[in-house]
Symmetry: C2
Subunit: 337 residues, 2 copies
DNA sequence: TTGTATGCGTTATCAA
DNA sequence: TTGATAACGCATACAA
């Protein structure tokens, strides 16, 4: 076990191998371009010296890095885990690294983060949010860094978008409600400020209901704090009124289970007294009792495709035919509706 | 909006500011060392050119980076979200970046990841796992990279450890069970292979029960697959026997809610027919009906302390008096026991 | 307070 | 198949 020896460099490996540093560099990155004998010698020296290449130097010289950045609105949100896994697996397979950070739903913080990532020369950026400051957009475009947005199928992405239509998803849930006869429905969502996705989903739902002749009273369009407790509080509020909705649509993260648990505590039977639908897919939703109807988004696949597009772009491959990729969604009907 | 212009460098800023590149470098990193007039001139040029410093070049020159790496056994595991947030907040505040990856509980993958991080010259590494290959340990020690392990209060950390004693936690839960009169208890955990933490917790529980005279029959020490479904399956197995345990201790992630839901499906009342306790803290556990007794680990604080220790070490501050920091745990008793 | 010279460890380029 | 040389963009060390 050595301590902080001045780090072994390519020169050292070259000297002990009896070749030039350039040959070592080649041997490590493109073994086929080096003779067998030299290759073996170099590998044995690398092994002996425990040489680990300095990718910072490599990146500076080649003007390329293998780091992809991901900015999430909130690290607490478990639904992002699937997306992260999709990204992470693709990157690891291809020898890339992932930098993650949390913008707390603030365009200003996002801008600061992006600036840092540009400074780090990341080879691509994945953003979940689709609302950005003008500077953020400019920063990414002028640095010509590949960028994929994933939170909503925006019409005018900074660069590329891999997502689904939140508006269509909300509309689809409205149609499910109507088909089931749940025309007296309320919708509970996270605060829509700075959350374009959630707003779009809510609008899709509300306007589809209205167009079908079932306008929601304003008191039935509610915003709540994140988390199980936030949803519980909102549900309590809604059920305290004399005029109760027959169904609830909860937009965002863990809200639906929170609503279900609150109903259980209040002795309100789901779905007999009130139906509940969710807007995301976690394993929770299929395991609660009763299980919860929800909109399924292919989050893992979004991660995979976002990462693949970043890699393709950073490798200079021809751009895909369209810079917009709609991965769709589906509604899974369960016991709660 | 420009496109892929050859990137602006310090030289460009220097030229337009009428100073040397070195002065620009100073102005950006230590404004107080530059005269007011020059400083303002430089800032205005930086603004105009939209100059973003190249940290890769900076890092190569200064032999320092501002990147901290985190290796988790599984990104899917939601309980890590708190730790990540703790780390992330400290790092962002201090202008550092976070690289995350997933070792899938494999020491071999972990080794490969660490090698990559060493190549990236990260200024510190945080590992949740505490079981490592000899090479991993050697890699980190010989590169002299600050390292904090967080998964278990190991006696011989690679460098530093910020955690709690899983063994003591298991023991504490056994004592809670005994105090409540639940002497006929079963324990369900994730597979213990490569999961030293879970093994330690289970051992703590089982041996404390045994020492108190309540040995668990082997059939009541069960391993299950991750996730709600895994726990559900294990519970079904246990309850199918004629001789049922009076209480269940579930070690790992979301297992306890999975067990609770399965009991609900089977019509087994919790806690009347069977008590359930969990081994981690998520908001789920306090919101299910009934709410679940659990061991609380200060995960956010672990993240904060781990990050702070990495930063202190990477800045060359004096090492803390001890390389081991016990953050402890507590048992929160709820309706399920 | 500012500038000059030098080097960080690798890769691109061109020549042998 | 190999090597010499010159960047890459910045920061350290020293000098002015």
């Amino acid at each position: 076990m050595k301590v902080a020896q001045s780090r072994v460099s390519m020169k050292d490996v070259a000297r002990l191998s009896g070749v030039s540093a350039m040959t070592v560099s080649r041997a490590l990155r493109d073994p086929s371009s080096v003779s067998q004998a030299v290759l073996e010698k170099i590998h044995s020296v690398v092994e002996k010296l425990e040489y680990v290449p300095n990718r910072i130097a490599g990146s500076l010289s080649s003007k390329k890095t293998t780091v992809v950045a991901l900015v999430l609105p909130s690290l607490r949100n478990a639904m992002h885990a699937e997306t992260i896994m999709g990204i992470s697996e693709v990157l690891r397979r291809e020898g890339f690294q992932l930098m993650i950070s949390d913008s707390s739903n603030s365009p200003e913080i996002e801008e600061e983060l992006i600036r840092t990532f540009v400074a780090q020369q990341v080879c691509g950026v994945i953003l979940h949010n689709t609302v950005h400051s003008a500077r953020t957009v400019n920063l990414l475009r002028s640095a010509a860094i590949p960028c994929v947005e994933t939170g909503n199928l925006v019409a005018d992405p900074i660069d590329m978008v891999v997502s689904y239509s939140n508006h269509a998803a909300g509309k689809a849930m409205a149609e499910h409600f109507i088909a089931r006869g749940y025309t007296r429905a309320a919708v509970i969502s996270l605060p829509i400020r700075n959350r374009e996705r959630i707003k779009a989903c809510r609008t899709g739902f509300v306007s589809a209901m209205r167009r079908a002749g079932f306008a929601l009273p304003p008191a039935w369009v509610v915003q709540c704090d994140p988390g199980l407790q936030g949803a519980a509080l909102a549900v309590r509020g809604l059920l305290a009124e004399g005029d109760r909705p027959r169904a609830l649509f909860l937009i965002g993260d863990v809200l639906a289970p929170g609503a279900l648990f609150e109903c259980q505590r209040l002795g309100v039977d789901v779905p007999r007294d009130i139906a509940i639908a969710a807007s995301d897919n976690t394993e929770w939703l299929e395991n609660t009792v009763p299980s919860l109807t929800t909109i399924q988004y292919p989050r893992y696949r979004i991660g995979v495709r976002a990462a693949e597009r970043i890699l393709a772009a950073s490798r200079g491959h021809d751009p895909a035919p369209s810079n917009s990729e709609n991965v769709g969604f589906s509604i899974t009907v369960r016991q709660s509706t």
